[in-house]
């Protein structure tokens, strides 16, 4: 496995809310290998979006990064000055926000968006910018002739999303972060977008980090997957390991709870119980109240990440007792 382009170490992020202190990310460590297509999956409220916000240091007003480091290309970006951070943002790390298609300025044409984005970071002749923009639009299967001169409202949701992705690639970043890229898209557009993302990944060799609650989409595009639950990372591994040989009961439960258009439905079951409060999380392992394999140690001690196989890590006391799904 390649060295990590992005390395998050013991990150702690809290939000100050009316009821108290909400710890949205609790000592999370995660490595994104260079060149990989990594997916971070988890359900609503698990903290995955907060991680993305922390990486770009775009926390909302009541959010505070309490501890931890985020290494990119060797340096801790949390310690960078605002000026240095600006140079990293977009030029080295680009991001596509959730429902980004709605953040396009309705009074600017796509070409103007593209030019503005580049000129905000460096000086470059407009014609060259537009040339590059055209190439990137073609990469996402949009017709530059038609799209560059269009206003956002003239494009469909799927097209807008692809425009935003093309924009994110304008400055040749090394890492592209996507937060729920398929929100508000119809099924066919979603599948189309996922295929384009894989193509971009293959052709440009850019590292992709996709955060999503849609587990099935991740199965299609990612090579590595991390699973997040209640502010903690529970399991990390290759996509095959996560889907066929998951060792954390939550991962097993999650994949087992998702119906599919093929396959046996009789094995599918929801996970009993409810996700825990992040203001007052349960002691020990966060998942233990809902876990069929829970034992007394799970109530007392928080499990540390252990290696199941090279590159496959799980935070569970009892992972050894859990058989892989595929024999």
């Amino acid at each position: 496995m390649n060295e990590a382009i992005l390395s998050i170490r013991d990150l702690v992020v809290e939000f100050e809310v009316r009821e108290g202190n909400l710890r949205s990310v609790d000592r999370v460590s995660l490595d994104v290998p260079r060149g990989a297509f990594m997916g971070l999956i988890g359900e609503s409220g698990c903290g995955k979006t907060t991680i993305v916000q922390a990486v770009m240091n775009l926390m909302p007003e009541n959010g505070y990064i309490r501890a931890g480091e985020i290494f990119f290309d060797g340096s801790d970006i949390l310690k960078l000055s605002e000026e240095e951070l600006r140079r990293v943002r977009w030029e080295k790390i680009a991001m596509v926000f959730q429902a980004a298609q709605n953040s396009l300025n309705p009074v600017l044409k796509v070409s103007e968006h593209m030019v503005d984005t580049v000129l905000a970071h460096r000086r470059e002749p407009k014609s060259r910018i537009l040339q590059r923009a055209a190439r990137l639009l073609e990469l996402v299967r949009l017709d530059p002739g038609r799209v560059l001169d269009s206003y956002p409202h003239e494009l469909s949701g799927g097209m807008k999303q692809r425009v935003v992705i093309a924009m994110s690639l304008l400055l040749d970043p090394e890492l592209l972060i996507l937060d729920e890229p398929t929100t508000a898209l119809d099924l066919i557009s979603q599948a189309y977008l996922m295929e384009r993302l894989r193509e971009i990944h293959g052709e440009l060799g850019i590292t992709m980090f996709m955060v999503t609650h849609d587990v099935s989409n991740v199965a299609k595009v990612a090579d590595r997957v991390a699973v997040m639950y209640a502010a903690k990372i529970l399991e990390v591994g290759s996509v095959e390991e996560i889907f066929y040989d998951a060792r954390h009961p939550y991962t097993r439960g999650l994949i087992n709870a998702i119906p599919s258009i093929v396959g046996d439905l009789s094995e599918k079951r929801p996970i009993p119980g409810l996700p825990p409060s992040l203001i007052n999380p349960p002691p020990g392992c966060r998942f233990h109240p809902r876990c069929p394999w829970a034992t007394s140690i799970c109530r007392e001690a928080e499990p540390e990440m252990e290696e199941v196989a090279p590159g496959h890590f799980v935070a569970c006391h009892n992972w050894r007792g859990i058989q892989g799904r595929r024999q």
Binding site: E43, S44, R141, S156, G158, M159, D186, L187, I188, S189, Q190, A191, Y192, M194, E195, H213, D214, V215, S216, N217, A219, K220, V239, E240, F243, Y244, G253, L254, I255, A257, I258, P259, S260, I261, V262, G263, L265, K268, R269, P270, I271, P272, L274, P275
Partner: protein, 328 residues
């Protein structure tokens, strides 16, 4: 006799006030039937008219033309006027389906009272109802407000309220799309229980083929595109032998939580990737601009929904000539 029969339903929304202009033709000639205690999954993407059809089915919206027969009686016709079926509906957003300033008890008590529960038994009956839908412990939740409840709990509460009038039909419009993935099946299982134990027929409206398959395993599926039904039949049969190109495209696009399978499949290539506008549907078969098999007749005539035997109906001119296609 069918519980619900929709015959050649058209819904055209008028635009403008003084000069009535033709707006969207949201539902274009849909005929559907649902038997007592039956389950029908109505699948389609947003804008296809499925929500509108759901409202027509409940008598909430009067179709521009066509008949709505509930237990054989025309609910908009003479004599049937105002005969709204006691169907109930469950919505996608459970939060907006509940009055935010009313507690759980205050939400359930008035309908319970309205449908015959005597005043002194109200509390007890409310608790029994909460237990039945899985909101436990009932005492704890009685005086909670909707914002205290999780999404799943709220949806259960909406179901609890919906079954009070002992309806024969529930129209569930995207009931689980705002609920976390690991909990969706628990709501779908609740719906299956209501169907089995209380004999309630369900019209399950969704864009998610996977949950449709789960819920309507033993029932039927109807696929809608831009206001028309393009394929319909028993769920098992239709998924085993999908015929309409749109359904095939949908199935090829639907994500599968299995990396090997997911990577082997490719999205069926369509002539145009973009979904069309519902306001200006194409002439002839509405899918023809995107259909890889389209021929000249497809641009001219709207194909009728034909029964190919065994209740499997398809609206496509070329269905006999299509190459076989399997999901995997």
């Amino acid at each position: 006799m069918m519980l619900l029969e929709l015959q050649d339903i058209h819904v055209i929304f008028q635009r403008g006030w003084l000069r009535k202009r033709r707006g969207a033709h949201a539902v274009a000639g849909v005929s559907l039937a649902l038997e007592e205690k039956g389950i029908l999954a109505l699948v389609g993407e947003s804008g296809c008219g499925k929500t509108t059809l759901g409202r027509v089915a409940l008598g909430l919206l009067r179709p521009t033309s066509g008949k709505v027969l509930y237990e054989g009686k025309d609910i908009w016709g003479r004599g049937g006027k105002g005969l709204r079926p006691t169907g109930q509906t469950v919505y996608q957003d459970s939060y907006s389906a509940l009055n935010p300033v009313r507690t759980v008890y205050q939400t359930l008590a008035p309908p319970l009272r309205r449908y015959g529960t005597p005043r002194k038994r109200l509390r007890e009956e409310t608790k029994k109802l909460l237990e039945f839908v899985g909101i436990m412990p009932p005492d704890y939740f009685l005086n909670k407000y909707p914002y205290h409840l999780s999404g799943g709990m709220r949806q259960r509460l909406v179901f609890a309220r919906a079954i009070i009038p002992k309806p024969k039909l529930i129209v569930a419009d995207e009931p689980v799309s705002m609920i976390d993935a690991s909990l969706r099946l628990s709501i779908l299982d609740l719906m299956l229980r209501l169907n089995r134990e209380l004999g309630i027929a369900f019209l399950y409206i969704t864009h998610d083929l996977a949950t449709a398959r789960y819920f309507a395993q033993a029932g039927r599926i109807a696929v809608m595109y831009l206001g028309a039904i393009v394929e319909e039949g028993r769920m098992e049969e239709v998924l085993e032998r999908p015929l309409h190109p749109y359904l095939r495209a949908l199935l090829s696009a639907a994500p599968i939580p299995d990396p090997e399978l997911a990577r082997k499949r490719e999205l069926m290539p369509l002539r145009e990737a973009e979904p069309p506008s519902a306001e200006h549907p194409p002439p002839g078969c509405r899918f023809h601009p995107r259909c890889p098999y389209a021929q000249e007749i497809c641009a001219r005539e709207m194909p009728p929904l034909r029964d190919l035997g065994d209740g499997h109906r398809v609206a496509c001119h070329l269905v006999e000539m299509l190459p076989p296609w399997r999901l995997t």
